[in-house]
Amino acid sequence: MIPELGQFALVLALSLALAQAIFPIYGALRGRVELMAVAVPAARGQFVFVVCSFVALAYAFLINDFSVAYVAANSNTALPWYYRFAAIWGAHEGSLLLWVLILGVWTTAVTVFSRELPVTFRSRVLGVMGVVSSGFLLFLLMTSDPFTRLDPAPLQGRDLNPLLQDPGLVMHPPMLYMGYVGFCVAFSFAVAALLGGRLDSAWARWSRPWTTGAWVFLTIGIAMGSYWAYYELGWGGWWFWDPVENASFMPWLAGTALIHSLAVTEKRSAFKRWTVLLAILTFSLSLLGTFLVRSGVLTSVHAFATDPLRGVFVLGLLVAVVGGSLALYAWRAAKVRSIGRFELLSRETMLLLNNAVLTVAAATVLLGTLYPLAMDALGLGQVSVGEPYFNSVFLPLGLPLLVLVAIGPLLKWKSERWPELMHKLRGPLLIAGITLLVLSWWFWQVSLGAVLGITLAVWVATGSFEVVRQRVSGRRNPLAALRRLPRSIVGMALAHLGLAVFVAGVTAVNTFESSRDLQMRPGEAYTVGDFTFRFDGTQSIQGPNYQATEARIEVLREGKSVTVLHPQKRVYQVQRSPMTEAAIDGGVFRDMFVALGEPLGNEAWSFRIRLKPLVRWIWFGAVMMAIGGVICITDPRYRRLLGREAATRQGAVAKRFSEVRT
């Protein structure tokens, strides 16, 4: 009964989503306030029913209702309850439901936080979000119903993919989806602005906090995914250029470009058309990414062969949403004029270059991701484009970007003079120069990449400090000035500092990692640097739904015990697949990573031992970027300005309402 209620709730949500799509947009077109008023209640009502449906599916998982096909395929009675809950988004149907749920969260947030927007504009925004939501709900109901029943019900489920049985999975996809779907808000703002023909700096200011918010979630989501790959896949790598990773990286790159271009549009009324296009593209890449990954198109086009309807529907939805908005763009954007003028040496130019690099980077990833698909579509078979391609393309793109990151925020809007720029840059130039010299002395022979990478990290870091320093120093009370700094400046500086930390981490891991694959018998030891790894033997362990062999490795430094590591080799009972659980001793400056390989007979085992310097800085950096984003969002100026503008407009609308009534 409960699954049927869940399905019925989805049908109700679809009808409300259609109402949310049709009435407000039509009402805004005709200037009919009573039709526009449908937007908010319809959006909230739709969210309530999607929540009901999600709860119904969660309930089916928690009570092990294997009469529901999706539950039977992705759960098992031996699975702990928290993985049974996370299994909701372990496969296609459930992740789609999560997608719709999160779209509901964002839509509801828009209804709550944009009460002060002009009514017509808000109606259009919610209407566009209603269109997207309708499309997804239709897709869910027509091709990917998670509530389909099995008769007779199996006694046991097929279990969740062991790779996904990890605390990382509980939070990683929802975070990622919060990011993907969050870009729908920026997209809807852009499309609404195109519909209304009003693209001004107010539009950019309204879009900014939403865009940054989505970007923060996506950043955290990607970092979590990378960390999860690091300790779960058992190789100690942190990024694989996997199609799944690329799918999240493309919208991140485009979204980062969007954040920067929105800044120009807000402050200087320039780049308007470009910003709108970026907002559309960012969300389109999110959509494309979700589909490519979730539908299995990427690994094989023929994944759709099992259910051709699904593929056709996905494509139809993409064409409708992306094609529709791009057609609207082609039609309406000609009317938009950018007024801000700027000279060659100005912050605008820097941000333009930033956008150029980030967009090219996103296009590069897209190309590398779609190329195999194109080959397949042309009948040339399935191929993978891998690490060699991405590494060779990303390095030349990344280096100039890092050089620019430190300069851009120090420049004035509109125009800057060279001597002044040099004066502002003297601190960072000096420190980075000294770093370069010292490092060259030490590491020239070891690695040119390391010298370059660390120097650039120092350059970006000092540049970020300089932004703050120049606004504080020379004031009568520097501490008070520091406290009065706009939050958006503090947030930006912190995010850029995060980038520096990230670059330092990547460089250190790539150049100074020591890795060794070896075999050891109990009692044998292996020494790398100051550390000695001693293998003390193995024991069997029985987990809730798996059996494992656990090795004991004691790590010694100068004869003293530092830590004991317990890497495991697990075999999950239902799917019979072996999994490597690496043991990691993490630290700020280095990680010790040990993975257990294969038994080699005679009690000997193969091991992978890695010493990874600064590896955690990769994720620290990402977290700093995300915190920087959060600080930017809390800048009171978004609310203040909104409030002032709204006050006048609210009066006008209230007047109009009373006119309609009388």
């Binding site: 058992g234 690994t299 094989s300 082609a330 080959m375």
Partner: protein, 180 residues
Amino acid sequence: MKRYLLLLPLILFGAVAVMLAVGLTLNSSQVNSPLVGKPAPDFQAPSLHTPERSVQLSDLNGQVALVNIWASWCTSCRQEHPYLMALSEQGIPIYGIDYKDERSKALAWLEQYGNAYQAVAFDAHGRVGMDWGVYGVPETYVIDRKGVIRHKHIGAITAHSLREQLQPLLAELRRESGSR
């Protein structure tokens, strides 16, 4: 105003959409490689497992064998690997060419997914791949007892292509030489 420029994103998206649509409808047909029917190009490369030793064409030694081009960075390889494992268990010798890869990653990959290969040639710079006309990973070549390439499979082996193409061909080749 340059209005046509504003149409550009739409046109580009249209191209991608058409490609996706074609991808949905088309069944990947096999393109014939110019090498099919010709003797397999000779090669010599260090072994992945023991770099001191080398792997060469003569190792095939007049058997009906598969030569599989793979890499640890290749996602489709992960997909086809179970089928290679199955073929290897049926006694078909499979030789691997590890294409543009890193040794440690490739070894870890084999440890995780299983080693289906008699021997793996480590082709770090893709030189061997060049001779064999590799233009994507994975690719699989069927070699007969005389060392002639009889079939080239581009892309991941699927359950379908295994059943419909590879296994019948392998059986036929083995019979062909059994009668002699």
